[in-house]
Symmetry: C2
Subunit: 343 residues, 2 copies
Amino acid sequence: MQNERRLSVLRAIVEDYVKTEEPVGSKALVERHGLGVSPATVRNDMAALEEEGYITAPHTSAGRVPTDKGYRLFVDRLTTVKPMTAAEKRAIAGFLDGAVDLDDVVSRSTRLLSQLTRQVAVVQYPTLSRSTVRHVELVSLAPTRLLLVLILSTGRVEQRLLEVTEEVSEETLAGLRTQVNAAVDGVIIGEACQALRAIAQPEADAEAPSDDLATSIAEALIEAMSDHRSDERISIGGTSNLARFGDSFDTAVRPLLEALEEHVVLLKLMGEATAGGLVTVRIGAEGPYQELSQTSVVATGYGPGDEALATLGVVGPTRMDYPGSMAAVRAVARYLSRILDEA
Amino acid sequence: MQNERRLSVLRAIVEDYVKTEEPVGSKALVERHGLGVSPATVRNDMAALEEEGYITAPHTSAGRVPTDKGYRLFVDRLTTVKPMTAAEKRAIAGFLDGAVDLDDVVSRSTRLLSQLTRQVAVVQYPTLSRSTVRHVELVSLAPTRLLLVLILSTGRVEQRLLEVTEEVSEETLAGLRTQVNAAVDGVIIGEACQALRAIAQPEADAEAPSDDLATSIAEALIEAMSDHRSDERISIGGTSNLARFGDSFDTAVRPLLEALEEHVVLLKLMGEATAGGLVTVRIGAEGPYQELSQTSVVATGYGPGDEALATLGVVGPTRMDYPGSMAAVRAVARYLSRILDEA
DNA sequence: ATTGGCACTCGCACGGAATGAGTGCCAGGC
DNA sequence: GCCTGGCACTCATTCCGTGCGAGTGCCAAT
């Protein structure tokens, strides 16, 4: 693939097809785009492109449609992420600024992203694993019932109810509270778990105030920290945008709807978080799920300080406005990261 | 509508139509159901039923289809909610018992309900308004940054970050903590707000420790308590079940998908919470939303002690298995209420 | 290398006929 | 009086056959 014009032709085909949703022919191409050659020339180029597998003809007498390989080349080499307009930037900032807590931030981001791209938006809640512990609070609700509150640097709050066998006095609790906080405050999750394990199994230390109690508290906290469920929590929005693809319902929409229910699949699909403005694009059958051979994923990582705590992105049919989606995904991830920075 | 057999015919039509998704004719009716009469007789009854508006014929030479009015009569008089089997009950209990916190309970209920009914399930988070305050915790994260944690009797936990201008000492905070908790512990939300307002505006009381601080804390708590967002929080699941209705995509599925994004609309649709085993059924155009003339809602209230704190139910096309859906909705609401009772 | 010309290929939309499920009505039987 | 078998009728759906047109592939000319 060296020829310069051929690339332009491919670009034009992708752009036209995404816009019109119909196979595009040689004549329409030269009219709509200003490539100063005749349809016949374009036909030659198209034949070559088809030969190389970048486009395909649904049937003999129809125009051409990009293949997955064609889309891939398009996003890799033929497109530069167009920056958002100032107005869009303002809209994003304004929309996200009103958020009151982490849940709200995530749900607003989801709505925003789905509206910007008119696709289905997926936002993963910030992962626990790399965040740090900000505070642990122990509250006694009833004589034998405790509430553990775990506050993380991302703003996420996990709580656990804990029934204990013996009554717990306020003093004991206060002691434990300071002990636990001394051990884990400001510490990264993984190490905090280590520290808690040490508390849970006081190796013949005589100074442990109330072994059973400390042990069960520590275990509950460890469980809360390593809870898989939290890694899997995601927010989905804009499902109704799928209505635009009422045609190809069985091949494209149905499998996607099913995948959206399978959060685990979805997360795998979004892939590893890659922060720092790098947007990953997964096109069609480029993954292990052949049911999703018609859907693409545009995703990126986000998190405070360019550290990718979680992923966010949009999913939709392969026939998608990639430059627009990539720009929106990148912009939202950037603002979201900034908000987490401040918090 | 007096004739006994006519009612049987209507019931048979509804059951058959729901099962086969096709207009049902007189011949098929007498074959599949054991009504011991000839097709001709059934035809007469059908003509009468059509006259009265309970069924309609899509076109001259097709079978009959129930109208909304027909479904209405069916659910009101022709069906007894069939109890769940023992196995189903066990499955429900087992599935809901593993939940670790309120979020988990709600999301499990959603999944459960959508799997039982093969419809889209909607579960509203327990409303704040009628629940009581169990505990308020004030945590200082940084010298000028506080975290307020509000724990309610339903197990719901709301948190708010609060920036203050002056540094707050641990002692001041402890004093405020006891003061606030003394005022609101165990008190129903509405009254707790009253009590907090009293704290927020200490009417020339000299003993207030730090007016500004107390005021802003109280205000943040009031805001958290009366936050509309929480009343609107709902969990949706089983969207992929809509795929079964790939036909009638534009008339049924698309409007429903759109309604599912509009949580406010959805909540209005679910209607007033009616607890105590009473299941409400809204059929087709029986509401203000003409876009949803093809969708029905089966809902009920739930909450601890038969007090309806929130609603839960399923939405789907009017052609729905009403007895099954009603039974599932009732069963899940019952178990969910029981769990909230225990918590 | 590009271009105009031209024959060719198919998918699709349109129209008419055949099909058949289902109805409405009527006259006769229990 | 209600039920039943028979019969003519309706009309959506299906199946072909045809014409049309968009679009291609190739070739000869520039």
